[in-house]
Symmetry: C3
Subunit: 115 residues, 3 copies
């Protein structure tokens, strides 16, 4: 698979405790991305944050530490991102989804690490 220079960065801001069909939403989104053949996905976990409901979540406050912010990043070509969005949309009850332009400089796969 190749990625065109003119690609897009999809970023999904949700909570660690958000669920989809009983499993963590971020895992469900990454699994969907893999099933759909997206070029890759990276999940980052924040240490503090707040979202649309303005509740503060912080690793410092033990009681809330199980709902830390999660950011999922997916870089792919515009058509594939576009196809992915309607399915993603059905999974997200609460959160923020943004799209940015990203120029792909290199996208490389080492066959000896493959499946």
């Amino acid at each position: 698979m190749k990625l065109p220079s003119e690609s897009q960065l999809l970023r999904i801001f949700i909570g660690e405790a958000d669920k989809f069909e009983g499993k963590p939403l971020y895992e469900a989104i990454v699994n969907l991305a893999r099933q759909k053949g997206m070029a890759g996905a990276t999940v980052l976990k924040g240490v503090m944050g707040f979202g649309a409901d303005s509740r503060m979540h912080s690793a410092k406050i033990l009681r809330l530490s199980e709902d830390l912010p999660i950011v999922i990043e997916i870089v792919d070509k515009p058509e594939r991102i576009k196809d992915f969005l309607p399915e993603l949309d059905k999974m997200i009850k609460e959160g923020l989804v943004t799209l940015e332009k990203a120029e792909v400089i290199a996208y490389r796969y080492n066959p000896k690490n493959g499946k």
Copy 2:
């Protein structure tokens, strides 16, 4: 609250040990963002990095592990970001602040999780 499609991503790169009025700077920035009614904020903690002073900070080097890099991300409409910047500016003695275009695809709040 709604976010327009044409929004902005504000990113603030500081150190975990930076302080503002005796408390961690990243907490002070997130609290200010909440007070000002920003759409959300996410704090990510890095494992290694260096900034303007070129000192290296790394989770591997125990002595320096208390000043790991912090990235704060805030997505909001351009006017609200613009209003936020002068107050943010007074708080940051050292660090990097960047602004990027971000298209908001979804910004959703589930009322049953509200305050």
Copy 3:
């Protein structure tokens, strides 16, 4: 050093276990960035992800926990990023490198924290 308003954000997606000349690739990249006098670098470690080879890496699955995704972020002026890319290119056997526009609002160094 100053950064122009019209700067770029270079993002490098690799694996924590990737090596360069026997040491972790992300450390080698950050060290190179410092040697080349780049304005700064931040290393973020993900909790889950997959890349070009579509193998899933997750902090939840113990066996794979040593190859979590790494994102390195470098903000600098376009000329300096351009000079950095050929050397970076030689180091990356597998991964994704993207470039985005980023407007620099502030880039500040506190001399009393210097070397």
